[in-house]
Symmetry: C2
Subunit: 456 residues, 2 copies
């Protein structure tokens, strides 16, 4: 009995000791990030010197080369490229929208942006009567007799009452992803989509649409939330109103691009890989600062922090810059394909793709015991205001790894401001706050450190 008591005491002290050690290491990580963090300066380069980085663009190629050089300059053990073919969609020069025949306004210009992957209207434009719906049920109820030859206006708003704005996004984003093809099934000639914004403002949000097979590809544009409200109000008693829009978007042949990988080799279990990443591509309208320049530089910073603190990881820590999250996910798929092909053993993968905002937590997808292990570390993050440790999480780029049973972790920053910037022309460097960005990198590095120490 005495022996067991001593053993228990001994184990308890060991655990108390290692907990204090972990707390101290995490404090060091945060101090380094807050005093000498380099995420912000990296982001400045990526956004200001390179800019928007749509897959297939020269800027995407520049970003590949920049991140390769940056990780080499930091002295990571290995830095390499993973070739991957990606879609090459271009917006073209002309984007014009106009309300016509309005009883109240006559003709009025409305800012439009083509949805990503969408076909253009060509120089003749698309013109038609507008029929407004809130969801696909309404569309189906209208049927072909009411939709054929018209432009469908999807006007579903994000629910402002949800604290997690990504849930609100999820509740409305179907109209952008699947809306145009749904409308085309009933003979629509074009689609207008209410921007996926948490705010009433004048800024249109782009984003991918996915054409269904065997359905005509119709052109599709987004308009701002204020313009959507205006259009809806006009339509209420103005059945003759027409909308004209012209876009010159087109899909070009696929091009060769790359994921960029940098790693620090593990000292004890080099075959066990912990990946952390973001996506290097962005939409073309802005510099792609929150989406997802932030996640890229934070992922590089996780490894840099370890080196700066002279921390030698037991496992291999890998920063991955995924290509083509926005309009294809070809990079994420390729990464998982190569991981399987090379029999790589990923013990965890983390993604930062919710913007460079204040860190509030992490979500994990995995087995119950993997989830519980991560949840048990929550108290170590309390001093940093990081309180949300929850089941379920990951990121688009790392989602293909789930089929190999890799636990995936989504880094969660506060989401209140994200859908002001997301996929707009204002997602620029100035929209990112230095402390919030660096704190995020520290939070990510701290969790990676714990996974490196204890596994999941």
């Amino acid at each position: 009995m005495k022996f067991f008591l001593s053993l228990a005491l001994c184990l308890f002290s060991l655990s108390a000791f290692s907990q204090a050690q972990d707390a101290a290491q995490i404090r060091k990580i945060f101090d380094e990030a807050l005093e000498r963090g380099e995420s912000y300066e990296m982001l400045r380069y990526l956004t200001k010197e390179i800019g928007g980085r749509l897959s297939g663009s020269p800027q995407a190629a520049a970003a590949v080369e920049w991140s390769r050089q940056q990780m080499m300059a930091y002295g990571f053990d290995t830095v390499y490229l993973q070739p991957v073919m990606v879609p090459h969609w271009v917006r073209g020069d002309r984007e014009v929208g106009r309300i016509l025949n309005s009883k109240k306004l006559g003709s009025k210009e409305v800012k439009v942006v083509s949805l990503g992957n969408a076909v253009g209207t060509g120089p003749k434009g698309t013109i038609g009567q507008v029929i407004e719906v809130k969801d696909f049920q309404e569309l189906a109820a209208l049927g072909r007799e009411n939709v054929e030859g018209k432009i469908v206006f999807f006007n579903r708003a994000m629910d402002p009452k949800l604290m997690d704005t990504f849930s609100a996004y999820g509740g409305a984003s179907g109209q952008r992803g699947a809306g145009p093809s749904e409308a085309a099934k009933y003979g629509a000639i074009g689609a207008i989509v209410r921007s996926l914004s948490s705010f009433k403002d004048d800024i249109p949000h782009t984003g991918s649409t996915r054409y269904a097979l065997n359905v005509p590809k119709i052109p599709a544009v987004a308009i701002s939330t204020n313009n959507a409200d205006m259009l809806s109000a006009l339509l209420a008693d103005d059945k003759d109103l027409q909308f004209y829009f012209e876009t010159s978007a087109k899909m070009l042949p696929d091009v060769l691009s790359y994921n960029v990988v940098g790693e620090i080799r593990g000292s004890e279990f080099p075959e066990e890989i912990i990946a952390v990443g973001g996506h290097l591509d962005s939409w073309d309208l802005s510099e792609g600062a929150h989406d997802d320049g932030a996640g890229c530089v934070q992922s590089i910073e996780v490894l840099r922090l370890m080196k700066a603190l002279d921390y030698k990881p037991k496992r291999t820590i890998r920063a991955v810059m995924f290509m083509n999250e926005e309009n294809g996910l070809m990079g994420g798929r390729k990464y998982a394909e190569l991981a399987a092909q090379n029999n790589e053993n990923h013990i965890a993968a983390m993604e930062s793709d919710r913007g460079g905002f204040l860190p509030i937590g992490f979500g994990i997808s995995g087995t119950k015991s993997e989830q519980e292990k991560m949840l048990s570390w929550a108290p170590l993050f309390q001093p940093y205001g990081i309180y949300q440790f929850k089941r379920g999480g990951g990121g688009a780029d790392i989602s293909p790894l789930r089929t190999q049973d890799v636990p995936t972790i989504g880094y969660i920053p506060d989401s209140q401001r994200y859908f002001m910037y997301h996929h707009t022309a204002i997602d620029n460097f100035e929209a990112v706050n230095q402390r919030e960005l660096e704190l995020g990198a520290a939070a990510m590095a701290s969790l990676i450190y714990l996974i490196d120490q204890y596994g999941l």
Copy 2:
């Protein structure tokens, strides 16, 4: 025994019932604020239509009249003014700073802003050798022989490692408040203060200085953190460097101004008052959006939310727009003085003066039982990411009420971005996010609701 068991069960159900009721009421408050909140539109008016509101300025008078009208328009039961004499400091037109005789740069212009309440240099300006110190100990060690006839440069940085940036501010703000007079004690002819910013940037921050009695009043300016770093680097091997600055600030005679009070009369205990406020005055360099337009409109919104939800408070809920927090606190003092004079029974006072950022908590100063009562409500705020309930808190304007043993509550939003904007030219409407602002008002209204229901 059975009786007590039944009683206990009954009390338990009652408490579970009222907890569910409270959770539902708080959900309603957040829904109303997120769907139809009016803080943001009020803030737009106060910042864009009125602008900076330094005590004694025409804009401060306009803000008094606006908030009076706004609260009348909302139909609060009583709206009235509390006359109070306030200092009337003016910056004047000229603010010029220049490094002279630098070995490296020769002569170089440096943006300066006069500290609030400071005297001006007059058209001849102040010129002198610069002596850099980090704190008052260093200054004392230098003594009169090294300081007399020179300009003291206080270059203490805010500690970036502190998560609560207000603590970092507290650790460095003495150089602004007391620095000029400390320097004057040793014969200095002017003071330059490193801006109290969490960031390295080019924006100088103003703020009050307080001249000590019987010490010469010397002119004092702030320079940006980047310029402070530059000046410090130049001084390292350039003892002949001089600094010239010219300011035309001056203190005019006190003027009559007002606190503005609006209240909803309590239905059961009208004599018990719960006050919630912010300060209406701001610095003159910007529109005073975070500091403290946000706190004012949130306080009005607390009462508006109650009316919008048809909630009839048991106690009297009072929104107070305090005047002159920035350079005198005359409004806060007058409010407490009148409360004592009129034998008012404040059961709690809350202040919002940390910007319109994401709500994370509340701090309370009061008796142990008052603190514990508030802390016990924390779980009701968890769904909204509000996790920091702590002992100690309040606000400058409500601090005079503490001498009457009124428990004071400080509303705590996230502080990471605050000291980018604080007292600068960029504390404008655009720096405030609508959802963060409205969530703050909802958080404040929710806690006021609980205090109204149960007392403290």
